[in-house]
Symmetry: C2
Subunit: 415 residues, 2 copies
Amino acid sequence: MADPSTSPPLTRASVIAAHALIRPFVHHTPTITNATLSGMASGAVPLPSLPSSSTSSLGEGKAKPKMRLWFKCENLQRVGAFKARGAFHAVERLKREPGWEANGGREKGVVTHSSGNHAQALALAARESRIPAHIVMPSISAAPKIAATRGYGARVVFSGSTSVEREAVTADVIAATGARLVPPYDHPDIVLGQGTLGLEMQDDVRASMLSPSSPSASASGGGGSKGGPTWVPATEPGVPSTKLERVRAGARPALDAILAPCGGGGMLSGVALSCEGTGTRVYGCEPAFAGADDAGRGYEAGVRVERVSSLTIADGLRTPVGVVPWGIIYERRLVAGFHAVTEDQIRGAMRLVYERLKMVVEPSAVVGLAVALYDEGFRAMVEREAGEEGWDVGIVFSGGNVSLDALGGLFGEGK
Amino acid sequence: MADPSTSPPLTRASVIAAHALIRPFVHHTPTITNATLSGMASGAVPLPSLPSSSTSSLGEGKAKPKMRLWFKCENLQRVGAFKARGAFHAVERLKREPGWEANGGREKGVVTHSSGNHAQALALAARESRIPAHIVMPSISAAPKIAATRGYGARVVFSGSTSVEREAVTADVIAATGARLVPPYDHPDIVLGQGTLGLEMQDDVRASMLSPSSPSASASGGGGSKGGPTWVPATEPGVPSTKLERVRAGARPALDAILAPCGGGGMLSGVALSCEGTGTRVYGCEPAFAGADDAGRGYEAGVRVERVSSLTIADGLRTPVGVVPWGIIYERRLVAGFHAVTEDQIRGAMRLVYERLKMVVEPSAVVGLAVALYDEGFRAMVEREAGEEGWDVGIVFSGGNVSLDALGGLFGEGK
């Protein structure tokens, strides 16, 4: 991929430029609302109890924040995850690198090691530019993942499953083909590409709030009040007029906060860049299980955690945060803080998304919703800061790639 | 519920009148498209094989129809199923019955026996009109269903599980309270209410085809070509200009056919009414398992089948077709025919909806898609009738009420 030293500066303006580059290739996914889930986050609708009941009820002494939730549906993105954004951006930037084509770059292609969403995203992006993609996958990868990656026209190269083995095979591929490495998150072009979803959220929520048909922006009431799953880009009732006036005047952002999952941190840091200077606070969300909350622990300790070996059900978030994302997240303090949730809380949030929104999301995608519903630290902070006016909270549903078989394993026995 | 003899005539005009009545209370659900699924139906994209492989591959001798699929998302309807339409229509009609209010109808309320979507739909419709709802449910009903029905404010009355036991308890409730019975499908007001989804499909598909931003209606191309799940009401590329011209001139319907699930037949017959005189053919879709294809068998034999005891996974379709629906479906021949699919084909279609559309549907909801993808009789007919121009086929996703636990049971062991 393009030499990082030639990448654009890590700024909001560069995210906007990235958006212009990738727009023809990716979906502008919808940002939706749901009255029931906002009601649950605000204590107005009872929250179903979790198997571990201690955190689930909004009883005495619990925070009672007001939150209006806005869901960015990257599960409806191409390849079923936000990863398409970074991959297309990386390929488009590569194509524009001086000398790349003259030096045979188009024939040499691209390579990555991944068995997940990034593999399929890169395969797709390469195919649409008609350049070869070599994907190094552990030979023990699930057959459907191998088939899906090949389905996008990529060449799959097998390796052992340790990172040392995968990197060795990747080096071999590079030596043999001259293909350029496109890492899954630790590169400025990837970060800038993923950040484009943050821009879309900001635009969509603002437009929705200020739309003449929005119940909150007009006296007419209407659409938002019927309850039930809402799929068309929705208006959210109940934004107080005091806030609306300030949003309209440009004195306040439409979104008060964004909750984004953090694995390698490419998306979280990109979203943070997209919010720089806007007043929207960005929080990272992680699974707590077996140390998968590495970014939060590192943020607390002031040192990036370099190794994670958690087997959390949020399998997209088992990665330590990368160096480039860390610079944005921690060194520049563009992320306001981290929150971690339990496996049961992740399952509980998934259940609500399936049963209320009728939407398929992968476990990693719901950690933000789990924080909004269950994390007392976050909820108490919102109650304190937002007061009666409440906050509009954007939640990134990062992807929807989960097989029905895997769902069976997660929920099959009444878990 | 209103005396059937006072119901409007069973015509398309009455469906339009029903739509005007219920519009304030129900969602106009989206009609969406998906290039991959249309490609699979048309043999342009490989169809994943089923466990029983004989019917899954599009090999030699198989039909090769051209189909563009349009999905009506009633899983996104209030209470998660089309049943909200019939229930609201029944209640609105009841409120307009001369003497109903004067005779204490508002205090006596409504009653039904159901443990499924109709129970919740009636509970909701009654609550919004502030009249009591008594729901008779077998005492062995799943706890979440009981809780959900109570959640809508209904009074749940338990009975045994046989139909004789349920009817006896219902009669007791009527004797004790004077509540009016609202049956789940066998009543003109229910049929007319459910039929409103057919009107919306016709309108939406026509508007989408003729929209200036539609790739098929303009030379600009664009949005429809990126693939991946599409959620915003979508444009479908590739409608031939020969067809578009005739649709624009009103000489041909936008939808050539609609595939609708058939359980009690209330929705199928309502949709058939909504298409009367339009040229859109309506087909009923059923599970074949253990005799659940009662409507198709009756249609063939010329006699309504009155008893069904199938335990098909499509649990909403275990009911025999009702008398009122039968008059529309068979006696007036407003349904063009029936097709039945296997349990594996239902599972296969569900898998595609989850993995490609990222949408939660219940097994009953996908029998229409299963027919389009797997039923050789239907496919050969479309190939013959539609030729090179192809057909636009509307598919009713009837509901999305399936628990994650039930999904685990359906797919947990790689079924």
